[in-house]
Amino acid sequence: MKLDINGTVREVDAPPEMPLLWVIRDLLGFTGTKFGCGMAQCGACTVHVDGQPVRACVTPVSTVGARKVRTIEGLSPDGSHPVQRAWLEADVVQCGYCQSGQIMTTVALLEQRPDPTDTEIDAALSGNICRCGTYNRIREAVHLAAKLSRGGGK
């Protein structure tokens, strides 16, 4: 089957029920998207399908069809996406394992809500677990990214 991923259509030989996560990681080699729970509990595997955040670990690859998949690797060629810049500015990461998912969820949030309230941040990001407990700085970075996206920052 064909998969449109990060702007390129790739041929993949995968059983239809194989989760998108493992197609992305094990067959296509995009390892920035992480495996954390396998049951849509932790958000580490969050990618975008036509701009919507989905949990790749429970998304059968056959359901993606011709829709466009975007992973952390497709966010920017050089780490310059406003959300990535905000993450660096706020020095968010610790172990870093969950952060691809946190960032992809945030990018989708900001596309829907350019200036989210704390309540909206809670609602959007409570599906993404961080065991290092970087939540305070994630919140700070989301607000900062909103500002950067609006051109209000540097």
Partner: protein
């Protein structure tokens, strides 16, 4: 394995990483080793630093980066003395080799909140040594005295002459290292003590950071292992025929007490495992039941165990006390649940083996792999990848996840990456042990503790491991009782008895972020709070009075209370609680502000004061404190494993919940730069949060919660 200079040179030629400055490093006084010997023995030639011809400065890390920030903090120590261009500095995990052994613990490992204090002198000396050699190389080139040269931002200069480190690296490498170096006076520090953003940040926001899970190379297969479903169960027989029919599954092999399905990719391996037919021999005696086990622990707690500490006549002092309190505190088994499930890739080639994994325990892993394969430890090349969280789980005395991967690769005859599922992780053992504490406290007329009888019941972490001989003291595992015998609250108690029962079970246990104080701090700080209320005193004033000879504890607690607004009442419906605990050489005091929302405990804000002596990177200290609070709060509010028939009932984040964004309080951190002996920062703020929250819940509801996780009785839920 000793890296000689020649070997390092060879490495530099083949790695295209530039040139290496290799030199001797004389260790300074080890923190735990007492006074320095008159002539410290020279370690083998070290290489902690490479300076490339492109001016790049690469620091080799003897400690694994698992989120705690060593990737930045150790580089700061080198950079401080080296005077390099900070934008040119980068880090690599060191290979597994004796030269990278922990300066105090003697093995290459990451744990005990020790990277910064234990490496403080060694990594600064590395920087100073390299700078000395670069300056001498420049001075020789210009035929001027080294003392007349200046160094700044990666450039050595003399008058108008300037040479960058990269241009000097080759010449510097040919020089003899200095016999000694003088480290900077702290007043001259430019990097230490400043807020420095993480060097691993960019790779962790664009998906390029490589964790063990991300290791891929041609020929590497993925294995998922069926492990015994109950602790104590044993593999009897298995039928792999259905598994082998799954497309992508290549073989099924026995790996120790488990059955490994080896496949082209994870998904096939996982489906293959689901299809295995396995007969397990059930555990003897039916397996651990936590309900029954805790009932047994409660019985044991009624009588003293092995003596940990005793002074005075506890019975007599208790009899003379004006008020007597008896309380029991209980703690469940806890899984670490790091975000990255365990994994380990292994490639065996004749009498050599290569391992890629995120580990906290390189020396141990190397020894176990060598033993399994019957090869020399130095023939085991270990690549430390980024760790997607450690919290202690990636430092097992048995090297469990490395050992089984080596067994699997050996049996399969192909390179294999073993990947754990989250269910494997939650049910795989190596837990924070369950504990019961029973405390009898006698208070005098003023409400002060004058008699304290404390019985602890719980499994030993080190008993039965290779560390037993080194760590057990007269049958006492110090990790079971740390923070009790030396409690700052009990210094003036006339009679004290701390004793320990150490039952054995089939459940493997392990250090879990902040180890013993995860339970001892809760017991102590809850009981002291009970004593304060029994005495009719303010919980802060009561503690401060008891801490009169502990100025650092008192200062931290007072500052936390001041910053949290202790003297003014919280908003209606809210209450505050506090706790202070010393661990890993640092003191953490916390104030939690809570309310009850929809029948649940909600923690709104946490104020934490940390005194770790010298904070190398306050930005990292803040991050570690916030993270520790989140980790401790997960245990306070949610963490609990339940066993029936030896089987763990919980399996994933839906039934083993952890703190998420919506329940994360705002954590405000204040650092006291006390200049006291340097302590750790990765763990100390973990333990105080649970008692601070429980004490706040008491202040709010008059309900004293003595078991973790904290669960409100029904009558308190509606308030």
């Amino acid at each position: 394995m000793t890296l000689t200079r020649r070997e390092l040179l060879r490495t530099s030629v083949t790695s295209a990483a530039g040139l290496i400055v290799a030199f001797q490093v004389v260790p300074r006084v080890a923190r735990a080793a007492g006074p320095a010997p008159a002539t410290p023995p020279l370690p083998p030639a070290n290489a902690f630093l490479r300076i490339g011809t492109d001016d790049s400065v690469t620091v080799l890390l003897a400690h694994s980066e698992m989120g705690q920030g060593s990737w930045t903090g150790l580089a700061m120590l080198v950079g401080e003395e080296l005077e390099c261009d900070w934008s040119k500095i980068r880090c690599e995990h060191a290979p597994a080799a004796p030269v990278y052994a922990h300066p105090v613990f003697g093995m290459q490992m990451t744990g005990g909140s020790s990277a910064q204090w234990s490496e403080f002198d060694r990594y600064r000396t590395v920087g100073a040594t390299a700078k000395d050699m670069l300056v001498r190389a420049a001075a020789a080139r210009w035929k001027v005295p080294p003392g007349s040269c200046k160094v700044a931002n990666g450039v050595v200069s003399h008058g108008k002459d300037q040479l960058s480190f990269g241009k000097l690296a080759e010449a510097a490498m040919k020089l003899a290292p200095p016999k000694s170096v003088k480290l900077k006076d702290p007043k001259d520090w430019k990097i230490i003590g400043t807020k420095v953003r993480r060097l691993d940040g960019p790779a962790k926001v664009d998906g390029t950071a490589k964790f063990g899970m991300d290791v891929q190379f041609p020929g590497l297969r993925t294995a998922v292992i069926a492990r015994p479903p109950a602790f104590g169960a044993k593999l009897a027989k298995f039928d792999a025929s259905a598994a082998l029919k799954i497309p992508g599954v290549e073989q099924v092999v026995q790996a120790g007490n488990g059955v490994a399905v080896v496949a082209k990719h994870f998904w096939a391996a996982k489906l293959g495992r689901d299809a295995l037919q396995i007969d397990w021999t059930p555990p003897e005696g039916g397996g651990v039941e936590t309900a029954r086990m805790l009932a047994d622990y409660r019985e044991k707690a009624k009588t003293p165990g092995a003596e940990v500490k005793k002074h005075g006549d506890v019975g007599a002092a208790m009899g003379n006390a004006k008020t007597k309190l008896v309380s029991q505190y209980e703690f469940p088994y806890l899984a670490h649940a790091p975000m990255e499930p365990l994994n380990c890739a292994v490639k065996i080639d004749g009498d050599r083996c290569e391992i890629w994994t995120g580990t906290q325990f390189q020396t141990n892993d190397q020894m176990f792999a060598a033993k399994i394969l019957g090869i020399k430890p130095e023939n085991v090349t270990l690549h430390t990848m980024f760790l997607g969280g450690g919290f202690g789980r990636r430092a097992t005395p048995t090297s469990d996840f490395v050992s089984e991967a080596v067994l699997t690769a050996k049996a399969a005859g192909v390179p294999v990456k073993v990947v754990w599922t989250r269910e494997d992780d939650i049910r795989g053992g190596y837990y924070r042990p369950a504990f019961v504490h029973r405390i009898q406290a006698g208070l005098d007329e003023q409400g002060r503790p004058v008699a304290w009888d404390h019985v602890v019941v719980g499994q030993s972490i080190v008993a039965g491991t290779p560390f037993e001989g080194m760590m057990m003291q007269h049958g006492i595992d110090p990790l079971s009782v740390e923070g009790l015998a030396d409690s700052p609250y009990l210094e003036s108690a006339g009679a004290l008895r701390v004793s320990l029962h150490t039952p054995k079970t089939a459940v493997p246990v392990l250090w879990w972020r902040s180890v013993g104080v995860t339970h001892t701090a809760f017991a102590m700080e809850s009981m002291i709070d009970e004593a304060a209320h029994a005495a009719g005193q303010d919980p802060l004033a009561y503690r401060i009075a008891l801490l009169k000879d502990k100025p650092r504890h008192a200062a931290a607690l007072q500052l936390a209370a001041d910053k949290a607004g202790w003297s003014s009442p919280p908003a209606p419906g809210r209450a505050r609680g506090l706790a202070v605990q010393e661990s890993f050489g640092s003191i953490a005091a916390e104030v939690a502000e809570v309310s009850i929302e929809h029948g649940r405990i909600r923690v709104h804000a946490v104020t934490c004061v940390i005194d770790c002596g010298t904070a190398v990177n306050p930005l990292a200290v803040e991050a570690q404190v916030q993270g520790s609070v989140a980790y401790g709060l997960s245990a306070a509010l949610y963490g609990k494993l339940t066993l029936a028939g030896g089987r763990v009932q919980e399996s994933n984040f839906h039934d083993y919940p952890v703190v998420r964004m919506f329940d994360m309080p705002k954590v405000t951190v204040h650092v006291i730069q006390s200049k006291a002996k340097m302590g750790g920062i990765g763990e100390p703020a973990t333990a105080p949060i649970a008692p601070a929250v429980a004490n706040a819940v008491f202040a709010l509801t008059k309900q004293r919660l003595r078991s973790l996780p904290l669960q409100l009785a029904d009558e308190a839920k509606g308030s």
